[in-house]
Assembly symmetry: C4
Homo-oligomer: 291 residues x 4
């Protein structure tokens, strides 16, 4: 604490802002996260409603006004994030830094250059910002276990996807030869699309086999898809129950380890995360974490 | 037993009615439950058949008559439930009390105010009354185990649903930009609807991608959906087999505990349930449970 | 062996026929089963092809001739089965006895009474006869394990089906109110049909919600269906792996018990099955099993 | 090494070519595999794009030129494979030998005999050649474990497929009788096709029941399909987690055994594979493996 006494007032303010914006340990930090979450969700709903033809035309001005308010809010937040960190480049070129920029600038671009309405849909990327805020919720443990199960079953699922691809290409080509363009199987890529629609049991029905042999082949594809679906399920199921068993084994050994990452401290200097509870200095650059 | 001797005759009758209507330990109580079950099911079938245009017109009078008979039966039951309990408010504002009221009054409302035919569909809520009766069947053990597995996999499934939602919003927006209103993707909400239809492998086909790139993206969504479906299955599977193992472990320790809740006694005074077998007084208010 | 010496010649013939038709231990018995299997499959293919409009008309006479040949073959087999058994009623009123009769008589009935073409489809029941023949194959062990897993998960699946039913009725009624007859939701039963089509992720698309709120509700139904599908899978998975573990535990105790039922001996007198290997007399009636 | 000194120069060259084409231990061998993989994938993409009507016509000449280049490349590779092996028949009549031939000759056949455009689709078989190259990747362990799980659940899945078939035939026939040709159920085979489309939850919607009873039956089929899908998933899940457990048990015993097959050596003389690491002579014919 003593070492930070001589910090000039501006530094103190930057540290304060840093704590509120980047962390969620203080009441103000939590409030900021909640406000941000609400603004992001409102913004997403507005983007969606704006795309509905009837609403988009009737309330055109209201949508534009709301969008400007939100964009200015995000712009302020973006600059506060930059000035409150010691090495702004660490934030600007991080994943969330880019997302923040991309979800803020579309309106400015359409304002200055006009006509780029498609660009406005980029605002949907604001959704990804939700993850940053939710990172600190109680679901983290679950998501962690799940993502571990998914990660460890990754290579198997890659093999499986490769198999799906091969089956689709072979049967897609066959269906193209059997049904042909007159029954909607215009080209091999479209036949492969149909084959994946069928294998995954989605079955839009926009294209459907009409010849007897085509229907027979479709039957085989469907039953294969029915069998294939069992494979990733079996894999994830097995991996998940194993990762669960391992977790519960570990828990009995060192049972507080589960909560280590829930800490939301972020180093103001080097932007590194996952500091130990009660840590006074950054484990990466040695910068003081406390005020 | 002695303590209840001085109860006046009206109290005895109320106790008798309470036992028949609320409990299922006596032959009359069981008979009442069976009759009620049959009436509810008949009533549900009538509501359904009435909605079939041809039948609804042809047998209009028969339907109205039957509905009045059932409504009067439910009305009587409702008042018996109120008068046989010491604190009627405990029943009236309980979950089933409200369901009972809602599933009884629609016909009276349409009779007095007329024209509110949509209101008649509220009668479908009678279905929920079935649960009260079935609560006492032998399936309770199973439902218990299942609901426990579902409950303990709740947070994981919440994470999973959140993931589905995020994927749908991102890909829905993308599809809206690629396919556009000319191919049925009228607005972002509708695109998200299509995306969920595809992710869950339902695939109505009311909207289907028509551009090559849209179909390519659809392919990715479908395969993702195919992979994602593995996650909740794996979770429930793992949780269920664990809750089963735990149950069988517990059973060896205290093997009668499984049947504790099958008892159907309900306190006439405070409407509380789950009394121990052979209990003489309510565990909540101390009121005598026996006659 | 000595005890059977005094059997009269007719009895010997009946015993011989019984052995060939009912059992599969002798080469002739096996040959008979194979021939029967081939005839049943040919017969099924003929029934199917006959229903194809173009083929049915073009080769009308050929189909009728083939059908008569097969019917006469089945008639002879039916009578041989009756005369070769001591108590014919045991066979006639058994499950397969009734199937045999039903799959043989349709042609006679249409011949004598005419016009009952719908009746000819009853011949599809011949399919069930396949099971009698396949009973003696090596798959028996597997089918046994599987059917045990399915049986023990029966009550849970009943609970689950009940849940599906309740969800379908509630959401079906809601969709009927929201979408109404103008969007294809003609009546509550049809709405329930649509709801099950959606919940099971089949999604024909013959009926699809068109209002925004209807589509929103459909989204919820689909995601529920997606979650619900996890439940029976998890159940069967858990039950199956348990029944497998138990089986392997038992095997180590008495490892020949698995093959006890593969024996195809059938008592000529009382039609009982599952005799022990090398048994000389029926375990049920004491009749000699050997020649 | 000494024993190979007296080999004539031509033999040395053949050995060199053999090593480059058949094996992947040397840098040149790896390079060759990568080049081959790229050419195969380009060739597949060309076959697909060529089938797109617009592209196929616009760039007709470019496609033909590219196809000739690829075909000549494959022809050279095919002959090098033949001359570099001691017993060419071992390669020519092996699985990949036939695939190589079939994926090379279509263009020659259409050049000499003309008009056989359908034949060109045979080139899709080139896809299978990808497997030969990928055999040597790190996924082998995973694919191995998976294929073992699938193999050991084979007989059960056969039982299950048989059940699906039986259900489809019975319900297909029923639906044909109920709905009839006027609602799209033209014949029993088509009804069976519809039944499989429904059971597997694909649900194209090209045919859909229209009578009330037909829809009721469809409901039953769908719920059955919903239940049946649980069976193969449960099987694969149980088998997979077992094969995984066994694998991890074995690994602790002899933990290098997992990598034994990753070696890509192929005997030049008898075309046999899976030699032990560091083997100097073929385990099958005793021919020297080293230069």
């Amino acid at each position: 604490m003593d070492g930070t006494q001589h910090h000039v007032s501006s530094k103190k303010w930057r540290r304060k802002i840093h704590e509120v914006i980047y962390e969620a340990d203080t009441p103000l930090g939590k409030l900021f996260d909640v406000v941000l979450l609400v603004v992001i969700i409102i913004s997403l709903i507005l983007v969606m409603l704006e795309s509905v033809p009837d609403l988009g035309k009737a309330y055109r001005n209201e949508f534009i006004t709301a969008e400007w308010v939100i964009t200015i809010f995000f712009t302020i937040e973006y600059f506060l994030r930059i000035i409150s960190i010691n090495k702004p480049s660490k934030y600007i070129f991080s994943f969330y830094g880019i997302i923040d920029l991309l979800s803020t600038i579309p309106l400015y671009l359409t304002f200055f250059f006009g006509g780029l309405n498609a660009l406005l849909a980029v605002r949907s990327l604001r959704l990804l910002r939700v993850f940053r805020i939710l990172k600190i919720t109680r679901y983290i443990g679950e998501a962690d276990k799940l993502s571990k199960a998914i990660k460890s079953s990754g290579p198997k699922i890659a093999v499986f996807l490769f198999a799906v691809m091969v089956v689709s290409i072979i049967f897609g080509t066959l269906m193209y030869l059997i049904e042909g363009p007159e029954h909607g199987f215009d080209s091999i890529p479209k036949s492969i699309y149909w084959c994946i629609v069928t294998l995954t049991t989605v079955g839009f029905g926009d294209i459907a086999p009409e010849t007897a042999f085509g229907q027979f082949l479709a039957t085989i594809i469907m039953i294969m898809g029915y069998g294939i679906i069992a494979v990733p399920t079996g894999i994830v199921s097995a991996e998940y129950s194993q990762s669960k068993r391992e977790k519960s084994d570990k828990k009995t050994l060192k049972n507080e380890s589960n909560y280590r990452h829930v800490n939301t401290q972020v180093c103001q200097n080097c932007h590194s995360k996952k500091h130990q509870d009660g840590a006074l200095y950054c484990h990466n650059c040695g910068y003081s974490l406390d005020e």
